[in-house]
């Protein structure tokens, strides 16, 4: 069967599965809609958390970034996994004991303040929307590249699927769908990686194949060979990086604290029955995540090697099918600088500006003509990073069914994350804004209805972002972490570990952290993008890593303000005592909500 037909088949089957699960696990109460009734097993929650967490960015883009950045890619690998240690040790068990529905619930109750709750709601909605827009775009891109549907219809189909299981099923439906989506995405990620690992190193486990010798009889280690090839072609050696140590530290820390502070991840730990389950569930989640994250650098290195070996020195006229196919979809561009008809792949950018601007018509060898200027360097090739995961199975000449799997996996990753985020948004509206702030008298049935309407609206808006991506979204998604790190992480942490922490300190801290981080990012990304380079950054910290400084400022301001303002009331201090101890006095959600 053709790859196209197989892709339709796999994607279709996976969608049938998700819808089936949604019908089986509909929610009938607010407790089920918000936190799946608090009855999810820790293992299932671990798998759901992993799918919730691993987005289109983890699945489609991360390996590509590592492939081209080499050692610098470590900030994502460590940042997006190390955050789970913070989550498991510092936040998840206590928030589970607290036994409510949302992050603003905690902020509002712990800081006995509607203002604090409102600030938290605004942060939740802002962070979640920027994040979800990227997911819907990812859905559209997978559809358009693999199924030759246009991006807009792709986004619409994705919206319809998410609508079905998020609006009907709420957290309960999402949880069990995410478990299925995890299975689909990890299978789709590992199968091509295992294939390629065996081809290159003979080792069936990609994470170990990365440290193994080449299969070509040379006996050389793969990473040494790759370092040699990259250096020879005038690129940075694969295992070396270009980023400064301080920037790496700050970015990694921002990603870690941001991971621990992202509302859609935290809320998953409200769904397990016990404190004990929350602890172990974070462990299961990280095992599931680590399976992909330890494979990603292997995929990256294999792909870089295959691209260099297959493409450099290739006559364009003899290029394999995938090369012109991805050139047609705008991910590859070639400018024959020395007019020899052969592709030279070297270090440095090939084009000015860096991204290709295609002109009409074809060149002497059949390549797409470009409107770009060319750099003086020898490099003639532009390769988009997203190609690594999308096209690598074709580059390595794997069977059609493996190529088809990747599409189903990418969709599973994007849809599962989108659903988790949309649920957080709808809960923030129906529970935090309506029930807890503006309309406290609505009944549970009305609240559940409002939650469904809010979810439907959120999906509509997310879809619009996917179809008409506002320019700022792509820029801002990466900074959702910095914002979460600078706002939620310190407030929740101090709320648990510092009994004296009070309302005034929490509000000023959150606002300071957010305003500082937001301001720095906006300045360098939008107001003065020309200055966005190390010589203008404060202490050499890029906007990507500034969330860490925002977080430190938040801590500092909180602790100072706290000194000069009255301590929290006795019942709040008693609540802090209570959440610190697993047993005693903690009702489970299912009971508490009915």
């Amino acid at each position: 069967m053709s790859a196209q037909l197989l892709t339709y088949l796999f994607v279709g089957l996976s969608f049938v599965l998700y819808i089936g699960i949604a019908i089986w696990s509909r929610s009938s109460s607010t407790s089920e809609f918000y936190v799946a009734g608090g009855g999810v097993s820790p293992l299932a929650n671990g798998a759901a958390t992993a799918a919730d967490w691993m987005s289109a960015a983890s699945f489609l883009s991360m390996a590509g970034i590592i492939a081209f950045e080499g050692a610098d890619g470590a900030r994502y690998l460590m940042g997006w996994t190390g955050g789970y240690v913070l989550l498991a040790l510092l936040l998840a068990p206590y928030l589970r004991k607290f036994a409510k529905f949302t992050v603003p619930d905690f902020v509002g109750d712990r800081y006995y303040s509607r203002t604090a709750r409102l600030v938290a709601v605004i942060c939740v909605i802002f962070i979640s929307f920027t994040y979800v827009a990227g997911q819907m775009r990812g859905v559209g891109i997978v559809f358009s590249r693999f199924l030759e549907v246009d991006i807009n219809s792709g986004v619409t189909i994705g919206m319809a699927i998410v609508f079905f299981y998020a609006v009907l099923g709420g957290m309960k439906g999402i949880t069990y769908t995410q478990v299925a989506q995890y299975c689909v995405l990890i299978f789709a990620y590992l199968v091509p990686a295992i294939y390629i690992s065996i081809m290159l190193t003979g080792n069936p486990l990609p994470m170990f194949g990365l440290g193994d010798t080449m299969n070509d009889g040379s006996g050389a280690y793969l990473l040494d060979k790759l370092d040699g090839l990259t250096t020879e072609l005038g690129m940075t050696a694969f295992t070396s990086g270009n980023k400064s140590t301080i920037d790496m530290l700050f970015i990694t820390a921002a990603l870690m604290a941001g991971t621990a502070g992202l509302p859609h991840v935290i809320v998953r730990f409200f769904t397990v029955p016990k404190v004990r389950d929350a602890r172990i569930s974070a462990g299961y989640a990280l095992v599931f995540i680590a399976l992909l994250y330890t494979t990603a650098p292997a995929v990256a290195a294999f792909a870089r090697m295959n691209i260099i070996n297959n493409v450099d020195g290739m006559a364009y006229a003899e290029a394999p099918g995938w090369f012109s196919k991805w050139e047609d979809s705008g991910l590859i561009a070639w400018s024959d600088k020395n007019a020899d008809g052969v592709v030279q792949y070297r270090g440095g950018d090939a084009l000015i500006p860096g991204k290709p601007i295609y002109a009409d018509g074809r060149g002497d060898h059949g390549e797409r003509l470009l409107g770009n200027g060319v750099t003086p360097g020898a490099n003639e090739l532009y390769i988009d990073r997203d190609i690594i995961v999308l096209a690598h199975p074709e580059i390595a000449d794997l069977p059609n069914w493996v190529v088809a799997l990747v599409a189903a996996g990418g969709l599973a990753a994007a849809l599962s994350t989108a659903a988790g985020l949309l649920l957080v948004i709808s809960t923030a509206v129906s529970h935090d804004l309506m029930k807890k702030t503006f309309m406290p008298r609505i009944t549970e049935r009305q609240e559940l209805f409002a939650a469904r309407i809010a979810a439907a609206f959120a999906i509509g808006i997310a879809g619009l972002f996917g179809i008409y991506p506002p320019g700022f979204v792509a820029q801002v998604v990466a900074f959702a972490f910095g914002l979460a790190a600078a706002s939620f992480f310190p407030v929740i942490l101090l709320g648990i570990f510092y009994k004296r922490m009070n309302r005034e300190a929490a509000i000023t801290g959150m606002i300071t952290g957010l305003a500082f981080t937001f301001g720095y990012i906006v300045y360098f990304k939008f107001i003065s993008p020309g200055d966005n380079n190390p010589s203008h950054w404060w202490f050499g910290i890029s906007p990507e890593g500034i969330g860490t400084l925002g977080m430190l400022l938040n801590f500092l301001v909180s602790l100072v303000v706290c000194r000069f303002t009255p301590p929290p009331p006795d019942e709040v201090q008693a609540m802090v005592e209570n959440i610190r101890v697993p047993g005693g006095g903690g009702t489970t959600q299912a009971k508490g909500a009915k």
């Binding site: 240690v85 068990p93 530290l249 990694t252 172990i280 462990g283 610190r580 047993g583």
Partner: protein, 90 residues
């Protein structure tokens, strides 16, 4: 238990919790920020099979450590819960 004893008990429980947490966070900090970033070049002078050691820590090893740390915490805390008699009812 008198009120005083129980207060002392929960304070001792909290101290045991903090101690376990700080030990594990020290390892967390060491494998990622120190081994994976600050001392990465020094460690790259050593090898672990085909990996340079610093590169291994930053792209593979730290992740394995993270997983182990969370399981150690879960087991350690469950034991501490039982020792101080504050575990959850079945």
């Amino acid at each position: 238990m008198s009120r005083k004893v129980s207060e002392e008990n929960s304070r001792a429980y909290w101290r045991a919790n903090i101690r376990l947490m700080l030990v594990l966070l020290a390892v967390w900090f060491t494998v990622s920020f120190l081994a994976g970033i600050v001392f990465v070049d020094t460690l790259n002078g050593f090898r672990l099979f085909g990996y340079k050691l610093g590169f291994w820590f930053s792209q593979q090893g730290s992740i394995y450590f993270f997983v182990v740390l969370i399981f150690l915490y879960a087991w350690g805390m469950n034991a501490i819960d039982r020792r101080f008699g504050v575990e959850e009812e079945e």
